[in-house]
Symmetry: C2
Subunit: 345 residues, 2 copies
């Protein structure tokens, strides 16, 4: 069996290249069948590799330039080719690696990945997806901001890709799909949502469509996948993050209010830490740009090595499951039926 090869942008993320290398070390210790290629400044990478247990012989593709975390997308794309991010993605584009993982600038990663890897045949709009914590298992949500304006056709394709993502990572065979709306009733929301709902419910497409869901349903985990346009998805994701942060700040205030509450905190701190950990999905998951001819996984910029190793795990799951052929097949099936319907045959 050929080993699975991953390109890692060694220079992306708040604490790069340290966490990238430590994260890769953890991932490789768990799964020796993966090979990793570090892309970035050799002088910074090589000494750190020596301290690892599994990566002393790992390959380095040297380059000095990198995309800054606060750089705007067009700037990053212009300076592009010399950067570790660009060269890491190139390893997937030229077939040298199976997937790329970066904790760098999200916008730049998405733009450069799209530019190099191009959308898959039949996929009109690639979409950004991630997993969010819920009361039960995690929920896959997309699009999170790649597509501001969407039509029914885009949303159906997001559903197909989201279901394949859920199958790859969560091993759910027929993930249930919810369409985000302002109410569960059929007549609610935008016209294109009703149109998308009709297609999703069409049995010929073989999707496990569960109907409209509301904002409150995202976190109850009522469906495995939640589909929405990139504008709404981005606002919902950030509102959820903001709310979790707000609760955290309220808790901190409540536990420092008085001497008694400070003592209470000593008892409560273990439980509070567990809750905090469960709530930060970005630190232990990767966001993925779905629908390209190649896999690009984004790890959270502020993640630690464990978080980065989990992003690597997402990339490995996608490769091993065969996310790309799965989506290719599903999109081809969908496109064929749609074309038949349109030509009236």
């Amino acid at each position: 069996m050929t080993k699975l090869r991953l390109a890692l942008d060694a220079m992306g993320g708040d604490d790069a290249p340290k966490i990238v290398i430590k994260g890769a070390d953890i991932a490789k210790a768990k799964n020796p069948d993966i090979d990793v290629v570090f892309v970035g400044d050799e002088a910074a990478i090589a000494p750190l590799l020596k301290r690892t247990t599994t990566l002393r012989q790992a390959e380095i593709i040297h380059c000095l330039d990198k995309v800054e975390s606060d750089e705007n997308v067009s700037q990053a794309v212009r300076k592009g080719k010399g950067t570790s991010m660009w060269k890491a993605i190139e390893q997937v584009q030229n077939g040298n690696c199976d997937a790329v993982v970066s904790a760098g600038n999200t916008g730049a990663l998405m733009a450069i990945a799209k530019l190099q890897l191009r959308p898959m045949e039949g996929v009109k709009r690639p979409a950004i997806a991630t997993f969010l914590p819920t009361e039960t298992s995690d929920v896959c949500m997309l699009d999170l901001g790649a597509n501001i304006e969407c039509d029914a056709d885009n949303l159906v394709q997001f559903a197909i890709m989201g279901a394949a993502f859920s199958r790859s990572v969560q091993k759910i065979e027929r993930p249930s799909i919810g369409l985000l709306n302002v109410g569960a009733e059929d007549q609610k929301g935008h016209e294109y949502l009703r149109e998308a709902a009709e297609t999703l419910a069409d049995e010929r497409f073989g999707l496990n469509y569960a109907g409209f869901v509301e904002g409150t349903d995202i976190t109850t985990g009522s469906t495995d996948v939640v589909v929405t346009d990139g504008f709404t998805g981005n606002v919902a994701l950030k509102t959820a993050e903001g709310t979790a942060l707000l609760v955290g700040r309220y808790l901190r205030a409540a536990f420092t209010e008085s001497l008694f509450s400070k003592i209470a905190y000593l008892f409560a701190s273990a439980a509070l830490r567990r809750v905090k950990h469960r709530l930060d999905p970005r630190v232990h998951n990767g966001a993925v740009f779905l629908g390209l001819n190649g896999l690009a996984v984004k790890s959270h910029g502020g993640t630690d090595e464990l978080g980065f190793s989990n992003a690597i795990k997402v990339a490995v799951d996608l490769v091993e499951y065969g996310f790309i052929p799965d989506v290719q097949k599903a999109i081809a099936h969908y496109t064929t039926i749609k074309e038949q319907d349109e030509s009236g045959t």
Copy 2:
């Protein structure tokens, strides 16, 4: 000075008419200058009034029918006229009362209020607004679902109404206004958002526009008002609610996991209750349908008497501040400048 008169839908809410009457009793004890009129089943209301300290002589408008909490909007509107909700709103429409407060079915209240009270001159789309908790003071957010599709003009009018709402209730003279988007950069988001941003920043309109805000900014309280379309606003509000509930469930799980965590809970429970209370804005605030020729305040259906008395307080604030004349003036000013611009004078 004429007393301020409020019509209360005595039959709306999970625990009506009890909490309506108790809530009114609290409000009147604090502010004897308000008169209340209860609309609903006299046989249920009268005995409860006898037990109050301030409402033994309060007026009752008797009617037997009511809108059920799970009734759909068109059904509620059809049966309309005989219900306590309809008759309570009618008291505002015919000038007998200054505002109406109901804890009943939100959709029905909005539909019946719009039907009876009609939009104010110049207001193209009335909008639903409420206050949400933030790290600092509360933030006014609108629209929360009355208008699924919005254009730039609608959003500017929401900003004008939201600012007046914030002035009325929070006594902030020039509330800062944020426009919800997927990034703070000028080139982001829908075309109509950029158009609205340009108008909001136009000094002739006298608005304190602070720029685009993101989902995470809602809960930091970076602006006093957050403006968005009804689809996005509804999803954001419900996602925030869902996330707060999720954290609550995680906390419960963390504090019941082991004997130690159960003991920890004994110490932490007071702090946790304080946080819970701060997070449930619907229980201590009212949602208002802004932009009608009359004031309709919606109290949360599951609220207690204190929550209902706070919804009454919102109605009183709006009347006393003169929300309607304030908005009338601002909308007229806005419309005049817009018409001048369009006619090129």
